[in-house]
Amino acid sequence: MLVADDEPPIRLLCQVNLAVAGMDVIQAADGEEAIRLARSASPDLILLDLMMPRVDGWTVAEELSSDEQTRDIPIVFLTARTTPNDRRRAEKLGALGYVLKPFDPVRLAPLVTEVVERCARGEADALRQERPPELWPADLEA
């Protein structure tokens, strides 16, 4: 798994919770690093923050989807807030899930597992059409 977020606490939470679910986690603190790691490590999934210094999440997603080598890596957007515009843009970029900050880290691993498994079964497009899984902020869930 690649976690790309400029906020160390977010990376830490993702890393710890995915690790205990048995996943290997690599981290990127900015967009540049994310692209580099995506290419070099070919992760099963990228948790991608939209607002990052140097190169933001949108650019990263565009870059990866236009690259033969990386276009099939499922991307789950990790973001603080989404506007309908953001959502449309993310859909165009082939988003397979949304994790809205602040998220419940305990529920992160099941979402990641679901997306990875379905993509592994070649159901990425079906997932996109169904409606990608979302992880809503804990305070809004009720």
Binding site: P9, L13, N17, V20, D30, R54, K101, V106, A138
Partner: protein
């Protein structure tokens, strides 16, 4: 005269007798001498006693001469024809002498009579000269005239101004009851005085009987009356009245008597005319003086209330016994502005009366009627009937007005520009003469001048108020635009000129829609319906330079037009937007560490998995640092609140800036991200500064944090300390994103944040630099930035050296 006549008669008998007795002398006088002596005697008798005495003396002297001295003596028969002729000649001569003396006596008597008449007329003239008032003149004429004419009684009747009635204006000597019913009588009537005046002919009746014969209907047997003389009083060929004298006896009116009466009548007429002229002239002068004084008064002040009150006082007592001025109030009610009378107690009483009996605007007469109809009311004669009608059944009021003895009244409206502003009332009581048309003219002229003065004052006041208003409007920050009913601009205050980017001179008189850019927007959103208010609404107005200005507009229709109030809320709106941005930013800033902490705690509390010690430690230290970050943000917000409220106490102490700078660098080193090189270059000789060391540390830490934050690519961050005059100068320089020139000022504003595109996702509350600036300035220092986009920034803080 009488005594001399008696002496004459005595001489007539005694003198001839005395001469006759001379014959007894031994040597008697000769016949010639005796004749001479006799002639002397006749002369003496005629001189003293007149012609009759002279005749008697002549007869006695002739008989004496003939008997005693003409030879033959003691015989009446003359001795011869010559002697007889001598006696006859003597007789003739004596008679001629007697006649001569008689003629002389007559001349003397006439002279005396003329002198007496002259004396009497002289007395009349003297009395007339002393008389001042018309009544005194009339009384003098009657009194002196009666005296001069040797009459029992006399009376003067004058034609009234309408020329149809004769009024008895003065009398002397008549019993009261005689004149009852004769106070005034028609000129056309069949009475002696009326006829005398009509025909310009005097009547002289020798006796009552003669008069009764001429005027049978006047016979009044109970009234003692004898001769009567009635003469017209004529001035310059015009009859003004008549004068009558009644005598105690029958009188033969000889030419001399008639002439005397005529002279008296002429003098009386002239005196009356003179005094009338004098009175008229004096009244005219008085009016002119009054009008001049009044005009001066009216022009003296714009305080028309007090001016009119003074005017009312000026009118009494000469022009009026009572003078009052009533004004129409703004609500149409009639308010008594002033009432004047010579006696202050009466004024107070009248004011109370005015309160007890407020004017009814529908009153059929008096002030309300004059104001309503804008027509003067002139009542030369206030009759009791009029009073009864006027009080409208109020017995108490009737008693009061009867008590006042009102005689004559004038009420004139104060009219200006076709509008009745009020009314001026002049009232005279029985102590003063009736008002005439002349007085009405005067009152009307006075009212005209007063109305114009009041109107001027009102206009001036309005202008001044408008002036005040526009002066005041010039100072308000809110724009005020006044439109008339047709939508034309009446006025635009300077604030509105600024807000709408128009020039008042260019738009006043023009329609707002045609002359003010964006006005249709305002009309569409804020135009009130008739008599209503609308708004405020906030609208964006595009300026001629293309900039957008937010304006809060409200409109009020006040009947004669619409007044729009405009407020430029661009700044407020910007601030509001910044504030809401801040809320978003701040909540985001808070949420990020908060959710991190929350997530860490939830993770730690997972029971389904076990974390190793290292993971646990990482989570715990993350909680700690994120909590600190939270505390920092909350601290910034609280600090801003304190600064805004001016409640932040700052220390002013001496401290070493070198040490402080180094300590800031030391603590920054602890959590320095990779790629950042922090360096310090401090001049050790910079002396102690004065200020609050903790707050300065906060400022510098904030600047260092910013330098690191806005250097996302990494690079050097350098702190430099040196002395600049009386200041210690600390620079924090980075090689990061930099700040565009036109933002150098604004970045120190509260909540202000650079465009996110420029900050590349760097978070912040927008408070750090605002707090830094506030703190530094409160330490009497200064802060500034030198930066270029893409070339890094250098923030400069200067704090004063300690004295």
């Amino acid at each position: 005269m009488r005594s001399s006549t008696a002496l004459g008669w005595a001489a007539a008998f005694l003198a001839p007798a005395a001469i006759s007795s001379l014959d007894a002398l031994s040597n008697p006088p000769s016949y010639q001498l005796a004749g001479f002596l006799y002639l002397l005697a006749v002369s003496l008798a005629a001189y003293l006693g007149g012609f009759a005495a002279g005749l008697v003396a002549t007869v006695l002297a002739t008989l004496g001469l003939d008997f005693f001295f003409t030879p033959p003596r003691y015989d009446f028969i003359p001795a011869n024809g010559d002697q007889g002729a001598g006696v006859a000649l003597f007789f003739v001569v004596a008679i001629l002498i007697a006649q001569l003396f008689e003629r002389r006596r007559q001349v003397q008597r006439q002279a005396e009579a003329a002198s007496a008449r002259a004396n009497r007329l002289q007395a009349v003239t003297a009395r007339l000269a002393e008389a001042v008032t018309p009544q005194q003149v009339l009384d003098a004429i009657v009194t002196e005239g009666v005296e001069a004419a040797e009459a029992r009684a006399g009376a003067i009747g004058l034609l009234t101004s309408d020329g149809e009635t004769i009024e008895i204006v003065a009398q002397r000597g008549y019993e009261r009851n005689i004149l009852v019913g004769w106070e005034a009588f028609p000129l056309a009537g069949d009475t002696p005085m009326a006829k005398a005046i009509r025909d310009d002919t005097p009547f002289f009746f020798r006796s009552s009987a003669e008069r009764d014969a001429a005027f049978p209907n006047l016979t009044r047997p109970d009234v003692p009356s004898h001769a009567v003389a009635i003469l017209p009083l004529v001035v310059e060929g015009r009859a003004i009245g008549g004068i009558a004298f009644t005598f105690p006896t029958e009188v033969e009116f000889d030419a001399e008597r008639r002439a005397l009466k005529a002279t008296l009548a002429q003098q009386a007429a002239q005196a009356i005319d003179r005094v009338r002229l004098y009175v008229a002239e004096r009244a005219l002068r008085q009016r002119m003086t009054f009008l001049a004084d009044a005009s001066e008064l009216l022009g003296s002040s714009l305080d028309y209330e007090s001016t009119l009150a003074q005017l009312a006082r000026l009118a009494v007592p000469e022009m009026a016994t009572w003078c009052s001025i009533d004004m129409v109030g703004p609500d149409g009610s009639i308010e008594r502005l002033a009432v004047a009378h010579e006696d202050p107690d009466r004024v107070a009483w009248a004011e109370t009366l005015g309160t007890d009996y407020p004017p009814d605007p529908d009153q059929p007469m008096g002030v309300p009627n004059v104001i309503r109809t804008m027509t003067a009311e002139f009542v030369p004669d206030i009759t009791d009937d009029l009073l009864v009608e006027g009080v409208q059944g109020d017995e108490r009021l009737l008693e009061i007005v009867r008590e006042l003895g009102l005689r004559s009244a004038i009420t004139v409206p104060l009219i200006a520009r076709g509008r009745a502003l009020g009314a001026l009332s002049l009232i005279r009581d029985e102590t003063a003469p009736r008002y005439t048309e002349l007085d009405l003219d005067l009152a009307s002229e006075l009212a005209r001048r007063a109305a114009s003065a009041v109107d001027n004052a009102i206009l001036y006041r309005e202008a001044e108020r408008r002036g005040d208003a526009s002066r005041a409007l010039a100072h308000v920050d809110d724009g005020v635009v006044l439109l008339d009913e047709e939508g034309a601009v009446v006025s635009v205050n300077p604030a509105a000129e600024r807000i709408l980017s128009v020039d008042s001179a260019a738009v006043v008189g023009e329609t707002a829609l045609g002359s003010i850019r964006g006005w249709s927007e305002i009309e569409d959103n804020a135009r009130p319906s008739q008599g209503e208010a609308r708004g405020p609404v906030t609208l964006p107005l595009v300026q001629s330079d293309g900039a957008e200005r937010w304006v809060s507009v409200s409109g009020v229709d006040f009947g004669d037009g619409v007044v729009y109030a405009l407020r430029d809320v661009t700044a407020e709106r910007l601030l509001e937007r910044t504030r809401s941005d801040f809320v978003a930013t701040a909540s985001h800033e808070l949420r990020t560490p908060l959710s991190a902490v929350l997530g860490a705690v939830k993770t730690l509390r997972r029971e389904d998995v076990a974390f190793d010690a290292e993971q646990r430690e990482m989570l715990m230290s993350m909680i700690e640092s994120e909590a600190e970050r939270l505390a920092g943000i909350v601290g910034q917000i609280l600090l801003t609140g304190q600064l805004d409220a001016g409640r932040l106490p700052l220390e002013h102490e001496r401290f070493d800036p070198v040490e402080l700078t180094k300590s800031v660098v030391d603590s920054a080193e602890l959590h320095l991200p990779s790629g950042i090189e922090l360096r310090v270059e401090a001049d050790e000789n910079v002396p102690a500064v004065s200020g609050d060391p903790n707050q300065l540390r906060q400022v510098l830490s904030n600047l260092v944090d910013n330098a690191i934050k806005y250097s996302p690519q990494g690079g050097d961050v350098e702190l430099r300390l040196n002395r600049n005059g009386q200041f210690a100068r600390i620079e924090v320089a980075d090689c990061g994103l930099g700040i565009p020139h036109d933002e150098h000022e604004r970045i120190f504003e509260k909540f202000y944040r650079l465009d996110p595109a420029l900050t590349r996702g760097v978070n912040g509350t927008g408070l750090g630099l605002y707090i830094s600036k506030e703190l530094v300035e409160r330490m009497n220092g200064r802060i500034s930035v030198d930066s270029e986009l893409g070339r890094g920034s250098t923030f400069v803080v200067e704090v004063p050296l300690a004295v």
